[in-house]
Structures are given as structure tokens and as C-alpha cells.
Homo-oligomer: 404 residues x 2
């Protein structure tokens, strides 16, 4: 196998959300038990923007962008200056630390684009990168693509909040052993764990001490459930010199179809990211950028209502999985559930495919998030409430069918 | 300088189109001659989508995409299946060879995105890549970013059509010396040279013989001037096994603000490109993809009219530059002119900045396209006709001011 073949073999995307349509089901017939389970199909691999519609005004903002013509079509690579002014002010207020719109912010094609550019700016052949496990699947793939070396850090996610969070002993050991970069999501994807105040401050302090670059993916930080608190590392008193925060309106705000994200933080890294953007895709789609004008300007009560609706779905699904005996952490934020399934007679990957074929339920296999979480499945529960509940019952029934 | 610093130093984007707003002009005062030249500012660094508006129906198609909701927001990474069906049929008819919409086509965030993915799929550390000079500036930057080695091939572009085209002797020597990839644009950016039938067939034959992967950037192939002919390599009888063709609606069709491109060709390479897309930006913005439904379905006479209008601007600008004695090839297709300026008392880079400051004219420095073309400037003449003519006269007047 050539280097390139090996590199792309590691980038397997066939289990990635949305890619299931490319799978062939012929080989499943021999292991199949029972009939089709009727019900409305639910694709838990991503949020349903029909059930939770895009922010009010996002379409009109796009249309204004289109009408603005060339000025909106051809922005700077880091995005329209006027829109960066507005977004920087919102993000400064939200995170509790200033953001310079000229030098410290870049608009990207989705938060995926922001992650790619941020890791591309700091990871080269041999760069050691601390990665939490489990965490968003692209983190590990990106590090591998850029030739970096992964140093895994355990994220404790079962049990109650005080026991949860990254293993700080392992983190310090990784920094000690030469990690130059740390990338992690909080709220964590796939578990919904929010790294708490004490831990965020300690990670920031350690990163400053060891001069580690930190990339924090805060994509879901606005969808915080009642009673939970959130600490933004960029507002910590002691924090690393090189710190990039990533957010975007694709999830809570349902603007996924616009492909918008932002990265903000250390100016020299933002400059590198823009240089990379110049050869990757030039800029986030110009007209789409205009829809960022609605971000953080949602109508009064809109966000509270959206959070309450998600919390209700979370609680119903959690109750169903816990009643079935699946170890499932209660997400503190975001719209992911990560139930652990019991031992089955088929492999987890086959079970996920059977689930889609027999129960009309699409989930993402746990093996995408860490080597040791293959027995879990990830559900994005930003779905029609009733359909999601029915689908969760079908998952339980399917587990009973295939239980070892 | 660390490896990463060196890597990003090579990625300088400050002269790239649209980035001029980030330049500081203070250092120019000491060399400045004469006053401001009045006139409507013209930004020749990219096409003016206000002068040449987006294809009729593109906005309505986007709105239909938005209304379609989740199905359009979350497409496969390679793009919506239904849209690929339609686009593949159009591209097969246009290029004269079949395109399988399932396996041989990917929709990308602009043609820049297509180029990035295509080169990322085939260039690794040490891969030798034949690059024409001059050619689109990102080609060289992309090869450097992926760690490849550039093997330059001269593109002869002055004089009349029969003398123009790539130096096939150098090309064969590069293949002989181990080039694994060839990437080039035809129509050439920045000169408008169309590589002719005999040369395209010979390149295809040589690439097949030496098993070289070919990436052909045909972005401007629809904007072909009267009397010119175009040969699509993918329709050649003898052609390389690994061949990717890149096109998009950003230029002639003025859909730049949607960020859409396509790459089509060898299925294993398209598969790699999709895997890479999965970690780069997931997909071209879902709602934007819907606007591809208008591509190749423009109203009767629309494309002929657009070509005629560009040809009229081309002829006027060419006459102005040729009268001033600037060696300027007549573009056979596309909307770029690449006049060579006489010796000046300031460096070409400084002249380009003075042009912007004193004459309200933005152009791209020739040094972006090849090491030896620093004395040329590139103009995208897809502009308001009268404003472009006036701006061309100001360029000539500025050259007279600073002539050595």
C-alpha cells in the first residue's frame, strides 16, 4: 500500500453521518432476525432542521446578501468585515473576553471548516496532539491527515457531573511528554459532558505552563440545560498564548445548510488559518455569510424555548434507555446521547446497519469516537419529539432481538 | 523558522484577489509621482457580479433548496444525488464523454475546493508534480502545502495560436524524470491560452504512457470566443487512467457567491476526494447546491450574449494595451488579460499598490503566476465595459508616470 493509500484508508467516511446511503445491505440477510419494525424513520446521525427550523430571519438575511451583489459575493477570505464586527461583539459578550474583529476572527465553511483550518495551522508531520477519547470523530482523522501523532486522554463521562471530565493526570503527563497541541470539544461530542470550571481553569493553566496550543470546539455551548454552568477557557485569568475557540450556527440554530462556522483567538493562528483558507475553498459562501447577521440576535425567548424543547426530548430518551439498562450519561448540553449497548450476537457495526434496515433508525457507531467505545451508539436527538421517542423504543426492541 | 512557519510563509495570501484591503499604504508616499487619477474604481482582481449578474433563476433555485429543508441541508458529502444526476448529464454532453453521477462526480465548495481536494488526493510528501508556468497561483501553493515537488513546464503564451501552448518536450522530460501528477488550466489562467487539440491529445497519450495522474482545470471552458475550438482531454481516445476534470459556475455564470464547483472523472480519486471533503468542510453548502440546477440550463441565447459582451471588452482592452506597446496575448477564452509592462522605476509589487491607491485600479501581480512573470499584471475583464476601458487608460497613464 502506498503512503497515499494508507493515508486515505485511515480516512474512512462510510460510517460518517449522512453517508449511509452509500452502503449495500445484501450481506445482512443471513444474520437478520425478525421483520421490519414499523414507524416514522428517524435519522439520528444529525439534527433534523425540519423539526427544528433555521433561526427566523436567516433566509431573509441570505436574500439581502444576494441583493447586495459583488460586495457580499467576494469578501475577504476571513469573511465580510462588517459581519465580523457584529459577530465579534456577540462572541465577546457570550464568552466574557474581547475579540478583535480585524485580527482575531475568521468565518469558515462550517465548524468542520474551522477545525480543519485550525488543526492545519498547527499540526505538521510528527506534531504530538492530545485528543480526548471519546471526542468528535474528525479530530483524530485530521491529526492523522496532517501527519501528527495522537496522545489519547481519557474523558470520564459516565456517572454524575462531579466524576465527569478529562483525566487531568493523563493530560499533564501528555504535556510533559511533548504534546504541542490539545484539541477537545466541550460540550463533548458524543457524550454531552461539559468540562467544568475547575477543570477548564486547570487545563488553561497547564497549557500556559507547557506552552501548548489549545483548540476548543464549543459548537454546542449555547444549548446548555437548566442547572448547568459553562466556563469559556478564553476568559480564564491564566490561559495559553495560542488559543482558538470554535463555534457556529449549524446546530442549535439549525443553519447547517448555509455551512457557516467561526474560529476566534490568537491573531497569528487566525492569519495562518486565512492563508490556508485561501487554497482550500477561498471563503465561506459569500451570500451565506450574510445569514450570520441573525446569529445571537434571535427573537426574545426563542433560544430558551429551543433549549426547553431539547431538554424534554433528552429526558424522555434518557428514561427509555436507562429503563432498558443501557448505561447512558445525562448530557449537560448539546443534543447528543451516547448509550452503551449490552453484548450482542452481531458486531456493533452490523447492528447499526440492521437498525437502519429493520427499524428505520440511523445512528452513528461509537467506534467513530474512540477505539474503546464501539459498543455505544450516538444519537443526535434534535428531532421531532414523538418520532424520536418511538424510534428510541425501536432501538430497545432491536437490542432485545440481538442480545447475546 | 519551524517547519510550520516555513510552510505558511510559502502560503502568502496578501496579493491574492480580494485581500488588498488588508494592505497598509503608508510606505508608498515617498515614491509616489503625481496626483490621484479620477475615475470609477475597478477591481480587476476578480469578475464583477454586479456588471455580469448571476444566471437567471439561481436565486429562486436557492430558495427552493431552502424550502426543501433537511434533505437539501444534509446531502451526501459529494453532494445531492438528484443534482449530481442532472449535472453529470450536462457535463457528459458538454465534454463528449460519459459521467457516472454515482461514482464519478463530486460537488465541491467552489472550484478552489475541487482543486484542493484533487491535489490532496494525489500529492503527498515528495510527490513530483508537473506545473505549467504561468498558471493559476494556487496550483503551486497547493503542491507545496502537501509536500510535493514542483516540476515547471513552460507555457508559451505570446504570439499567435499556433505558437502557443505547453512545451511538450519539457513535459515529456518531466514525465520521464518521475512526475506522477500534472495539473494545468485550459483556458489558462492568467493568459487565456487554450491548449489546442493536437497538444491535448499528445498530453493525454503521454500521461497514459507514463501513468501520470492529470488534473485539468477547465473553469473557463464555456466562455470560448468566436473562431476558437476546445478539446476536452476526457474525451480523447487515448487518455490517462487517472484523470480529473474541474469546472464550476463561479465565473461565466457569476455564481461565485454560492461557492460551487465540481470535479469529475476516475471513481477511485473521486472517492478519496469525498473522504477528504468529510474532514475539510463536509460538503458544499446544501442550499447553494440547489442553484446548480440552473447550470447548463440557461435561457436560450443567454450564454452567446454573455460571450459576445466579454469579447467586446476583450477587444477594447487589448487594443489599448497593444497601442501602448505592452506585449499582451489575445485570450482565446475566459476573461483574463495578462499584459506585460515595460521596465519601471518601482518594483512590480509597488506599482500594483500604487495603481490601486492613485488610479483606483486593482490588478493581481504577475509574480503570483510564475517566478518569471513579475512584470506582467493580470486583469479579470468581466467588468462594466465603460469603466473597464477607462481603467485600462489609467493603467497606461500610470505606466507612463513610472516608466524607467
Amino acid at each position: 500500500m502506498s503512503n497515499l493509500e494508507a493515508k486515505f484508508a485511515r480516512l474512512g467516511a462510510e460510517n460518517a453521518p449522512g453517508q449511509e446511503v452509500r452502503q449495500n445491505a445484501d450481506d445482512l440477510r443471513s444474520v437478520m432476525r425478525g421483520d421490519i419494525l414499523p414507524g416514522i424513520p428517524v435519522d439520528f446521525s444529525h439534527g433534523d432542521v425540519d423539526a427544528f427550523e433555521p433561526t427566523p430571519g436567516a433566509r431573509a438575511a441570505w436574500e439581502e446578501g444576494f441583493d447586495a451583489g459583488g460586495a457580499q459575493a467576494y469578501t475577504e477570505y476571513r469573511g465580510s468585515g462588517a459581519i465580523r464586527d457584529d459577530v465579534a461583539a456577540s462572541l465577546a459578550a457570550f464568552t466574557g473576553a474581547p475579540v478583535d474583529p480585524v485580527d482575531e476572527l475568521i468565518i469558515t465553511p462550517g465548524t468542520q471548516g474551522a477545525l480543519f483550518l485550525a488543526l492545519g495551522a498547527v499540526v505538521d508531520r510528527g506534531t504530538r496532539v492530545a485528543i480526548m477519547e471519546p471526542d468528535y470523530f474528525a479530530n483524530r482523522k485530521l491529526v492523522a491527515f496532517f501527519g501528527g501523532e495522537i496522545m489519547p486522554i481519557a474523558l470520564h463521562y459516565q456517572g454524575h457531573a462531579p466524576q465527569r471530565g478529562p483525566d487531568l493526570g493523563q493530560l499533564q503527563a501528555a504535556f510533559e511528554a511533548g504534546a504541542e497541541v490539545l484539541v477537545f470539544s466541550t460540550p463533548n461530542n458524543p457524550t454531552g459532558v461539559v468540562t467544568q470550571d475547575t477543570a477548564i481553569n486547570e487545563i488553561a493553566r497547564l497549557a500556559a505552563e507547557y506552552n501548548v496550543t489549545v483548540i476548543v470546539d464549543q459548537l454546542y455551548s449555547r444549548l446548555l440545560y437548566s442547572g448547568e454552568s459553562y466556563t469559556h477557557m478564553r476568559a480564564c485569568a491564566e490561559r495559553p498564548k495560542n488559543l482558538i475557540t470554535i463555534m457556529g450556527p449549524s446546530k442549535t440554530e439549525s443553519l447547517s445548510g448555509f455551512r457557516l462556522g467561526v474560529a476566534f483567538g490568537s491573531a497569528p493562528l487566525i492569519e495562518r488559518m486565512e492563508k490556508l483558507q485561501a487554497i482550500v475553498s477561498l471563503r465561506a459562501a459569500g451570500y451565506s455569510q450574510a445569514s450570520l447577521k441573525t446569529w445571537f440576535h434571535e427573537p426574545d425567548g426563542w433560544m430558551e424555548d429551543r433549549i426547553a424543547q431539547h431538554q424534554a426530548i433528552r429526558d424522555d430518551l434518557l428514561a427509555i434507555f436507562q429503563a432498558a439498562g443501557f448505561a447512558t450519561a445525562c448530557p449537560q448540553a448539546g443534543s447528543y446521547l451516547f448509550p452503551q449497548l449490552p453484548e450482542l450476537v452481531v458486531s456493533p457495526e452490523v447492528f447499526v446497519r440492521l437498525l437502519r434496515l429493520q427499524a428505520g433508525v440511523t445512528v452513528t457507531p461509537g467506534s467513530e469516537f474512540a477505539p474503546h467505545t464501539a459498543h455505544s451508539i450516538r444519537l443526535n436527538f434534535s428531532q421531532d419529539h414523538m418520532a424520536a421517542v418511538a424510534a428510541a423504543h425501536r432501538i430497545v426492541e432491536m437490542v432485545e432481538r440481538y442480545r447475546a
